[in-house]
Amino acid sequence: MSNDFLQMHLKAVMSCLVIFLYKVHTTKAGQFFSSGHTNNWAVLVCTSRFWFNYRHVANTLSVYRSVKRLGIPDSHIVLMLADDMACNYRNPRPATVFSHKNMELNVYGDDVEVDYRGYEVTVENFLRVLTGRLPPSTPRSKRLLSDDRSNILIYLTGHGGNGFLKFQDSEEISNMELADAFEQMWQKRRYNELLFIIDTCQGASMYERFYSPNLMALASSQVGEDSLSHQPDLAIGVHLMDKYTFYLLEFLEEVHPASQANMNDLFKVCPQSQCVSTPGHRTDLFQRDPGSVLITDFFGSVRKVEITKDTINLTSPVEPPIQRSGSGDIQIESLTYVDQLPVAEIIHQKPKQKDWHPPDGFILGLWTLILLVFFQTYGIKHLKHIF
C-alpha cells in the first residue's frame, strides 16, 4: 500500500516537474527568438580566378562597399577575393574596379582591406572562417568573431552548378557541406540570424539543403537556369558585373542607415524581366516574418550611442622626461653600428656548429636492420655486452 502511494506521489511529482520544465523551456525559447541582435558581421567571398572573371570581383566589392557605407566597420567584415583585378597588369585603370561601363563608381575605393586574397581563398579556409576552427596564430582580421547575438551576412559569387560552387577553378564546395557548416555555427551559437546571398548559375541549389534555424537565403537563379552578366566594357575588355548584383547594388544605393526597407523589397530585386533568370529565396527556416526584417538588420550595423550633456575635461598627458638610470655614475660605452660587409671577417668565418639532431628515418631504420641481423646470426647472449 505504501509502495503504491509512494509511486503515485512520485508520478505526480515527475509530471509536475515535466510541465514546469516545458514551460520554462518555451518561455526561454520564445525570448531567444524575439530578441534582437547586438552586432553585425559580413563574410563576402569571390571565388573565381583569372582576368575574365573580373565581374565576380566587382560583384563582391560592390556588396562590400554597400555594407561599409551602411555602417559595418572593416574589423567586422571578412573579405575574400580569389584574384587581384585592380592591380592586375591587364587593367588599363590600375587600382580601380568599376561596376558600370560609364566608369563613375570605383567600387574598389581608397580604403579597402582584403583579408583573404589570392591562393588563400580555398574551401577549407572558407569553412574554417565560418566555423571558427582556425589555427591559433591567425590574426584577428582574418577571423569571424561572432557570438550568439550577431547577425551575419554571407555573400558568395563565382561559377556554380547544381549543388556546388567552384573555388578558383580547382575545387568545389557542395550544398551539403555548406548546410553542415551552418549547422556547426548554429550549435556553437555563432549567429543570431544569417542572411545568405548567392549569385552564381543555378544558385538556388545551394540553399536547398539548409536545415538550421534562423537562415534566410537568396539566390540569383533557380536550378537549371544560368545567371547572366550585365554588360561588357570595350576599354577593359571583360564583362563588368553580373545582372543580379548590379540591380542589387542599385537597390542598396538607395538604402541609408535609417531606412525602413524590409526583406520583401529585397526579394523583389531583379525580376525576371531584368535578370532573365528567376531569383529565388527561402524563408521557411526563418523565425520572423520577412516583412518585419529590416535591410539594415543585415547590411547595416547596430551602433550604441550615448548622448551626454556634461563636459569632460581632458588632461594633457605631459610625462616628466625619463631619467636615464645612472647616466653619470657608470661608464657606459657608446654603442656602434655593425659593419655591413666586413670582408675580412666573412672570409675567415668559421663554419657554424650545427645543433645535433638524433638520427631519424632512413639512418635509424638502417642501423636497426644491421643490429637485428647481427643478433639473429650470433644469438641473444651477445646483448649482455650492451646492457
Partner: protein, 553 residues
C-alpha cells in the same frame, strides 16, 4: 610637440628627375620612439604617442631586434634610373633579426609572419620553412648592436605577392597623421599604382638616441618609392608637376612633425631641366657616393605655400643625358625543355680602375634541384674563385637552397655565375590553381661596398636628411649598396588535372563492359524455354485438363 617626451616624427619627400624623362619620388616618414623595452627589467609599455601600437606590440611580443618588410610592384631598372635610395625586390620581402634571448626563433618567425599578414592585408602566411633561409653573411643588422649571430636572422621573399590599395591602406594608417595632413595626402592609389615602379616598406631598427650614442631609441621608417613613367601616363612632353604625379597639391605639413621637407635634386639643373618655383634654400648631401645638390622646400613655414595656400612644383625637361651606374646585376634562365635548365647571374662592374668585392646571395626553391658541381664563376672569360662560399643544400619540401659567395669583381668587367638545375615533379596537391603560369624564384641579392667618388661623412647628426642617413657609414671611401636582380619565372612539368576523372571513367567502363560480359559468359546457365502456344491450343488444353485427358503437345 611637448618638450617632455622625446618622440619625434619627420617626413620628407625627395624628387629626383631621371635622365629618361621619368621622375622618381621617394617618401620617407621617420618616427623616433624613445623607449627601450628590451632591457632586463622588462618595463611594460602602455602609452603609444606617435609610434603605432600594432607594431609596438609586435616588437615586444616577439622580441624583435630589427624588422624590414617591403612590398614592391615592378622592377627597378638600374641601367636607366641609377640606384634607388632604398632598394627592394619585386614582390614581398621580409627579413628580421631577433633578440639573442629568444629560444625558439622558428616558432617566433612563424607567428610573426601570420601577425604581419593580418596587419598589412598580405598573404605573408605563405612564408614557411620552404622559403625561409638563414643567410650567413648577407643582411647584417642596419641598427645598433655588436653581436651578429646569424642564427637569429631569418629572410624570406614572396615574388608572387601583389601590391594594391589594400596594402597601402594599413600602411597609411601607421602614420601619426594618417593620410589627412602632411605629405601623405599625396598618396592617392589611383596615381601611385599607375606607375612603372611602386615600393612601400617599413623598416624598424634601434638607433642612437643622441650624439654620444649611449642609449637606444626605436626608429620606424616608412618609405614609399615610386617612379612615374611619362609614356604610361600618356603625355607627350616631358613635363612633371606634383599635381600631374599625384593629382593633389600640398596644403599643410603634418602638425605632429618636427620637420617636413621636400627636396628636389637639381644637380643636373639647368642643363637637364627647369624647376619652378625656385628657392634659395639649397642643401648639399653625399648620397650613393655622389655629391648632389638639392632644393629644399620647408613645409613647416607658411611662406612655402604662397598666396594660394597650396604648393605645387613644376619641372620641365630640356635635354637628354646618359647614366652609367657602377654596379648592376641581372639574372635569367637558359636552356630548353621542362627537365633541365641553367640559371645565369651576370654582375657588371663599371668602375674604370677599381675592383671591389660583392656578396651574392641566392635562394632557390627546392623544386629546382641545383647541381652545385656545375657552379662556375667567370670574369673576363677566366675562372674567378670566390673567397667565401656558403652553400646549404635543399631538403625536399622542407628547405630551399641557399648559396652565398663573396666574389671579387675586376674593374670594368662582367662576371657570370652559372649553375645547372633539374626540375622536380611536384605532387598533384602541391600545384597552385593556375600552374601553367609558372613558379617564381626570388631575386638574388648582391650586397657590395662600392668605391665612392666623393668622401662620405661618418658622423651621425640629427639634421641629416633622411634619404642619406639610412645606411650607417663606417668608412669614407666606399658606400654600401644592395642590388636586386629580376625574379625568375620557371615552368614546371604540369600534369593534366583532368586525368583522375578520365581514369575513373575508363576503368569503370572497362570493368563494366569487359569483366561484366566475361562474368556473364562464365556463370550464365541456359535453359530451353518452349514458346507459349496459341490461344486456341491453350483453351483446348485447359478443357482437357478439366476432363482429365492427356494434353496436346
Amino acid at each position: 610637440p611637448h618638450p617632455g617626451t622625446r618622440d619625434q616624427f619627420q617626413e620628407e619627400l625627395v624628387i629626383r628627375p631621371l635622365h629618361s624623362g621619368d621622375i622618381y619620388a621617394s617618401f620617407q616618414f621617420r618616427t623616433l620612439w624613445d623607449t627601450d623595452f628590451l632591457q632586463e627589467r622588462q618595463k611594460k609599455v602602455s602609452h603609444y604617442r606617435l609610434f603605432p601600437k600594432s607594431l609596438g606590440q609586435v616588437l615586444s611580443k616577439f622580441s624583435v631586434r630589427e624588422l624590414h618588410i617591403s612590398f614592391t610592384q615592378g622592377f627597378w631598372r638600374t641601367m636607366q634610373w641609377g640606384q634607388p635610395f632604398i632598394p627592394s625586390p619585386p614582390g614581398a620581402e621580409l627579413w628580421v633579426w631577433f633578440h639573442h634571448t629568444v629560444s625558439d626563433v622558428d616558432g617566433n618567425w612563424k607567428e610573426l609572419t601570420n601577425v604581419l599578414s593580418g596587419i598589412f592585408c598580405a598573404s605573408l602566411n605563405f612564408i614557411d620553412m620552404t622559403n625561409t633561409v638563414q643567410p650567413s653573411a648577407s643582411f647584417k643588422p642596419l641598427g645598433l648592436g655588436n653581436a651578429t649571430d646569424h642564427r637569429f636572422l631569418r629572410y624570406a621573399t614572396l615574388p608572387r605577392e601583389i601590391v594594391c590599395t589594400e596594402n597601402l591602406t594599413p600602411w597609411k594608417k601607421l602614420l601619426p597623421c594618417g593620410s589627412k595632413a602632411g605629405l601623405a595626402v599625396l598618396m592617392k592609389s589611383e596615381k601611385l599604382f599607375h606607375s612603372s615602379f611602386h615600393s612601400q616598406a617599413v623598416h624598424i631598427r634601434p638607433i642612437c638616441q643622441d650624439e654620444q650614442c649611449t642609449s637606444k631609441a626605436w626608429e620606424l621608417r616608412q618609405t614609399l618609392n615610386v617612379v612615374f613613367d611619362h609614356y604610361t601616363s600618356g603625355q607627350g612632353k616631358k613635363e612633371w608637376s606634383l599635381f600631374k604625379m599625384f593629382s593633389r597639391t600640398l596644403t599643410e605639413a603634418c602638425p605632429l612633425a618636427s620637420s617636413s621637407k621636400v627636396y628636389v635634386d637639381i644637380t643636373d639643373n639647368p642643363e637637364l631641366f627647369e624647376l619652378s618655383p625656385a628657392t634659395h634654400l639649397l642643401s648639399r648631401a653625399v648620397v650613393l657616393g655622389d655629391r648632389r645638390t638639392y632644393s629644399v622646400y620647408d613645409l613647416t613655414r607658411a611662406e612655402t605655400f604662397g598666396q594660394l595656400r597650396s604648393f605645387n612644383l613644376l619641372l620641365r625637361w630640356k635635354g637628354d643625358n646618359m647614366l652609367r651606374p657602377l654596379l648592376h646585376a641581372e639574372r635569367y634562365v637558359a636552356g630548353f625543355g621542362l627537365q633541365t635548365g641553367e640559371i645565369h647571374t651576370v654582375i657588371y662592374n663599371n668602375h674604370p680602375y677599381r675592383a671591389f668585392p660583392v656578396l651574392l646571395m641566392d635562394s632557390v626553391p627546392w623544386y629546382l634541384q641545383l647541381y652545385v658541381h656545375t657552379l662556375t664563376v667567370t670574369s673576363k672569360s677566366r675562372d674567378n674563385k670566390p673567397s667565401y662560399i656558403h652553400y646549404q643544400p635543399a631538403k625536399d619540401r622542407h628547405r630551399p637552397h641557399l648559396l652565398e659567395m663573396l666574389i671579387q669583381l675586376p674593374p670594368h668587367s662582367m662576371t657570370e655565375v652559372t649553375v645547372q638545375f633539374e626540375r622536380a615533379l611536384l605532387k598533384w596537391t602541391e600545384y597552385t590553381p593556375d600552374p601553367n603560369h609558372g613558379f617564381y624564384v626570388g631575386s638574388s641579392v648582391v650586397s657590395a661596398l662600392v668605391p665612392s667618388m666623393v668622401a662620405m661623412s661618418t658622423n651621425f647628426t640629427q639634421d641629416q636628411p633622411l634619404f642619406s642617413s639610412f645606411v650607417p657609414v663606417k668608412e669614407e671611401s666606399s658606400y654600401f649598396v644592395r642590388v636586386y636582380t629580376e625574379p625568375l619565372l620557371v615552368n614546371l612539368p604540369t600534369p593534366d588535372f583532368s586525368m583522375p576523372y578520365n581514369v575513373i571513367c575508363l576503368t569503370c567502363t572497362v570493368v563494366a563492359v569487359g569483366y561484366g560480359s566475361f562474368y556473364n559468359l562464365l556463370t550464365r546457365t541456359f535453359q530451353v524455354d518452349e514458346p507459349s502456344p496459341p490461344l486456341a491450343k491453350r483453351l483446348a488444353n485447359f478443357i482437357r485438363r478439366i476432363r482429365g485427358v492427356p494434353l496436346l503437345a
